[in-house]
Structures are given as C-alpha cells and as structure tokens.
C-alpha cells in the first residue's frame, strides 16, 4: 500500500480492506531497481524484476520495466496468495533458480507487514551470502562490497558473487519512468508462472504455508488527547513542560 493510504481492518478482523488502497512499489524496492539499473549501466548485463502477487502486481513490474529493467517474472497464482515472508521467499528462490544471475537486490523491508525477512531467506534457500541494509554498493571483480548501516555507524562487508543484498535509503535516488520508457515497457516481456510450474508443493506456500499466523489485527492503543501547554512566554511554557515531565511523568 502507498504509505499515505488509510489501512483499515476487514470484517474477519485478521486482514485489511483491499479495495480503497492505492498500491505502489515498495519504496525500498524502488532503490533496488534503481541500483540494479546503475550496475547494469556501469557493468553491462541485464535486469530481471520478479514479483509474487495478484494481477495488480503486474503494474509494479511494468513500473520497473519503464524505469529500464529488461524483463519481468510474475508469479500469479491464487495458491501463492496470503503467504508469510518465508513462504514468499521460497517462491522467489524457486524463480531465481531457473535464471542465470550474479546479484539479487531486495528491499530491506516491505512497507506492508514490515517483515525484514524475505531477502535473507531467499539467499539462504539459494545457498548464497547476503548483506542487509546497504546504503552503498560497489561491484568489484567477482565480489560485492557493501556499506551496511548499523546502529551508530557503518560496517563495510564483502561477499563473493553470486550474492544478495538489501537496500537502505541513501543508496541512490530512484529515477522516474520517462514517457518513452513507459512506452517501451509495454513491449517488454513479463513471464507469468504458477506454483505448479515452479515445482513447489502448494502446502508450503501461500496462506496454507504460513507459519506466522495473524490472530487479530487492531488499532494501536490511542494516546490521551494532547495537553497543550500555554505559551504566553517561551520561558513560562518551558518551565511548565519541564515541571510536568519531572513531577508528573517522572522522566527528567
């Protein structure tokens, strides 16, 4: 969902209402597509974009193709729907196994369930190294060197290719699709795959394969109404705020 969307709980209490939501590419995936295009522009090769999801997911693939990716793979199968991160990663790994590749780039997290999980899991299922939360990436001779953001600094990590990394803001500024890009994207191929064609057991993917079970969705606990502190003078307001934080909230 677009980060501005109002997200509402559906009647079952466990899923969200999907009708009024504006769907967009995950912002971290925009960084991933952009970085892939830059690497291609510098080093050659081709960029394939992959999505698991319903028909709507094709629009996201088209956006990536319009930015400059070469081809898309769309796993569009009702069996794949409602999967958790692990289930989605199994599907993505199965797709990638059928393709030649040097590098996979994922978002660090998707701004839906905020799982922070799929990238690492895809790498694990493919038996390749991964580096997460990367704000700068350099492709060297047969290796990738990544600046990984950690609390309080950056760690520079290297791994041999093939490898996977996940994106962090600061990596790049994603381009917008140009009009000619959008026109060209209409002719670029999107291969549609089913779970059966990928040779996956339907019981291990989609809603059936979920290990993380959502029992209930609810609104976050409401805060009490804001208490506005009168600001006749900055000094008086400041004194009052600090008094409250000190004596009532006992924070200072």
């Amino acid at each position: 969902p677009d980060t501005e969307s109002l997200v509402q709980i559906a009647g079952d209490g466990k899923s969200i209402k999907k009708d009024d939501i504006k769907w967009v590419m995950n912002p971290y995936d925009e960084l991933a597509v952009e970085e892939a295009l830059r690497i291609k522009e510098a080093k050659g090769g081709s960029v394939t974009v992959v999505a698991v999801g319903p028909q709507k997911a094709q629009e996201t693939l088209r956006t990536a193709l319009a930015m400059g990716a070469d081809k898309g793979v769309h796993v569009n199968d009702p069996v794949a729907e409602g999967g958790d991160a692990l289930a989605t990663a199994k599907i993505l790994a199965a797709v990638v196994k059928g393709l030649p590749f040097d590098l996979i780039i994922c978002g660090q997290r998707a701004v839906d369930e905020d799982n922070y999980q799929v990238g690492a899991a895809v790498a694990e299922f493919l038996g390749i190294p991964h580096i997460s939360i990367v704000a700068k990436a350099e492709v060297l001779d047969g290796r990738i060197r990544c600046h990984r953001t950690v609390e309080g600094g950056t760690v520079v990590v290297e791994a041999p290719l093939p490898a996977l990394f996940t994106t962090q803001r600061g990596l790049n500024e994603p381009r917008y699709a140009s009009l000619p890009g959008i026109m060209k994207a209409k002719k670029k191929p999107i291969e549609v795959k089913t779970i059966a064609a990928l040779g996956l057991d339907p019981a291990t993917v989609g809603a059936a394969g979920r290990k993380l079970i959502i029992q209930a969705l609810r609104l976050p606990p409401e805060r009490k109404a804001v208490r506005m502190i009168p600001a006749d003078t900055p000094a008086a307001a400041a004194e009052e705020l600090v008094r409250i934080l000190h004596t009532e909230v006992k924070l200072i």
Binding site: P1, T3, V7, I16, P27, Y28, A85, L86, V111, E113, D114, N115, Y116, Q117, A120, A121, A123, P129, H130, I131, S132, I133, A135, R148, T149, V150, E151, G152, G153, T154, V155, V156, V157, E158, A159, Q168, R169, R210, K211, L212, Q215, L217, R218, P220, P221, R223, V226, M228, I229, A231, P234, A235, A237, A238, E239, L241, V242, L245, L251, I252
Partner: protein
C-alpha cells in the same frame, strides 16, 4: 520436545548492547510462562567477562560461543555457529533483539531452520503454553497479534521496549566448540561514529528536528546533552543534507521507541509517525497550531523552537542542578 527459551545476546567491542539485557529479561519472563529453562547465548571473541556479567539476569544456562571467527558479526559465521548448537538445546522459542544485527541474524536463522519468525515485536505474552506476539504493521497503523506454528518460534523484539529485570540465579556455563562452517562474507572496515554519543535506538530521550530547524540543530543538540539523549531527524532534514541518513526516523528510516520523544519543527507526516509512534511520551514543539503532530503527541507547545528550546534546556539544567 522443544522446551524453554534460547535468548541470543548482542555485544559490540566487548560490551553488551542495551538490547541484550532486554532480550535476556524478556526471555526469562517467557521461559517462566512456558515453565521451561532459559538458555542465554553469548557470542564473540574473548567474551568470558560478558558471560559472567549476564548471569545476573536470570539464565538457567549460558552457552558461550567464543571464537576468533565470531569477532565481527558476520551473518554466515553466526548463523552456522548457532544452527550447530540448536539441536542440543531444542528451544521452543528463539529470542533476539530487532537491531540491524538481530534482524539480519533472525531472518537468516529462521530460514535455515524453516521456522516462523515474528519480527520487531513490541509485546510477547504467554498463556496456556501459547506464545502471542504483538507487532506493528503498515508502519504502525495497525497492530497484529500473531502466533507462530512449529518450533522453534523465532521472535525478535523491538529495542528499548522490553523491561530490564535482574533475577539472581545460578547458571551453568557451557563452552562448546564453535562451528562457524563455511564463511563467505568478510568485514573490511568498521566506520563507527565518534564515541561518547548515545545511540538513537538505545536512547531514553530523543530530540528530533525537521524542516522547521532550518538546518540549525545546535539548540536540539544542547537539549539532548542536557537530557542525556540523542538527536534524530525527519526525512526532510536528511534530504536537505542537514543530518545523516542514520539519524532519520520513520518508515524509511529508523524505528525508535524512547521514553521521551521531542519533535521540533516536524509536521507529523504519517511516514514520520511510523518511526516513533511507540515512544512512551511524545512532546511536540511547532509554530503551527494546526500541525498534525499535535494530534499524536501527549504534550504540545505552539511556538518558535528557537525560543522554546533554549528555555527548555535552561529549565532542565535548573532541575538537574
């Protein structure tokens, strides 16, 4: 049958990160709820002193994985070493902190074990043997109560949320041979910020600035120093080049949960709220009485931050002296 909790601690340069105490304390509570043992893992190179220190937080058993191969955090070495000792422990729950390192390790380890993972949880409850985790989704617009099928259940808890609790107990210490396995990643360099500063996700107090600072963060820094806190920023402030990316709070930045979050010249966009809405107390300072941040704050003052902040800093210093 899988029993109890395995809590994985995080250390850097021979010191526990704050989240380590939170994870062990929460691990003790979950283990009690499940009537099972708490095994605490300490990983690194030459970490005996750390193992000794963590004993005060209620472990039944300490598993010390001490090896030069674990000196730096590397996903593959840490995952391999942990996976090698898991069968012997056979925990019902594997608990970590949802830090940069913990999230990375949790994701890779869960995939290795084909185990379900609840990431970045803000509460964990045990009732009649069932572990239910609460996790914010959609940038905190909704909370989900989740359970995990199968064992182990991998749970990563949001830093700065779980209460730290000392529990006196005798812990048996085990130092198994470490099996880091095939390690492909290597750490080339650690580029850490200058020391002495409180780290954003561990800070009890965050003074955060937006476009309204006009790029002058000095009054925010001064208040942060007076409160022993850290300085955060909105995306606008980062995009302007006033602060580094690592300071950004929000949906495409850090998720923080301090006891006190002071938003200065920040309008309160939904993507900013996504990064700080689980703060315990939120104070908003903004010159616009209609700014949306006030609707999400506990306390608000309408005014110019350049007049308010020095006055607040002075008032804090007065109380502290």
């Amino acid at each position: 049958m899988a029993k109890g909790v395995l809590a994985i601690t995080e250390q850097r340069d021979g010191k526990f990160r704050k989240v380590a105490y939170e994870v062990v304390s929460e691990g003790r509570r979950i283990a009690d709820g499940l009537a099972g043992p708490l095994t605490v893992v300490v990983m690194g190179n030459a970490v005996d002193a750390l193992a000794e220190e963590i004993k005060a937080f209620g472990a039944d058993k300490l598993l010390v994985l001490d090896d030069p191969a674990l000196a730096d955090y590397r996903t593959d070495a840490y995952t391999n070493a942990l996976a090698a000792c898991l069968p012997a422990v056979d925990p019902a729950v594997v608990l970590l902190g949802a830090t940069a390192q913990g999230k990375d390790l949790a994701a890779r380890l869960a995939a290795r074990l084909n185990a379900g993972l609840a990431m970045d949880c803000t509460a964990v409850k045990v009732a009649a043997g069932t572990v239910t985790c609460t996790r914010p989704m959609f940038g905190g617009k909704l909370f989900a109560d989740v359970t995990i099928q199968g064992t182990p259940q991998v749970i990563a808890v949001r830093p700065n949320v779980m209460a730290i609790q000392r529990v006196a107990r005798e812990a048996a210490v085990e130092k198994p041979a470490v099996q880091p396995g095939e390690v492909k990643t290597s750490v080339v360099e650690n580029l850490m910020d200058a020391g002495g500063k409180v780290e954003l996700t561990e800070a009890e107090v965050i003074v955060s600035g937006g476009r309204g600072t006009g790029g002058n963060f000095q009054p925010l820094e001064a208040l942060a120093v007076a409160l022993g806190g850290a300085v955060g920023a909105s995306r606008s402030a980062v995009d302007e080049g006033w602060r580094k990316h690592g300071d950004q709070v929000g949906q495409t930045g850090r998720v923080v949960s301090p006891a006190l979050y002071i938003a200065c010249g920040i309008s309160g966009a939904i993507q900013h709220l996504a990064g700080m809405s689980t703060s315990k107390v939120i104070v908003a300072l903004n010159k616009d009485p209609e700014a949306p941040i006030f609707a999400k704050a506990d306390y608000g003052i309408v005014g110019d931050i350049f007049q308010l902040l020095p006055a607040i800093t002075a008032a804090v210093q007065k109380i502290k002296s």
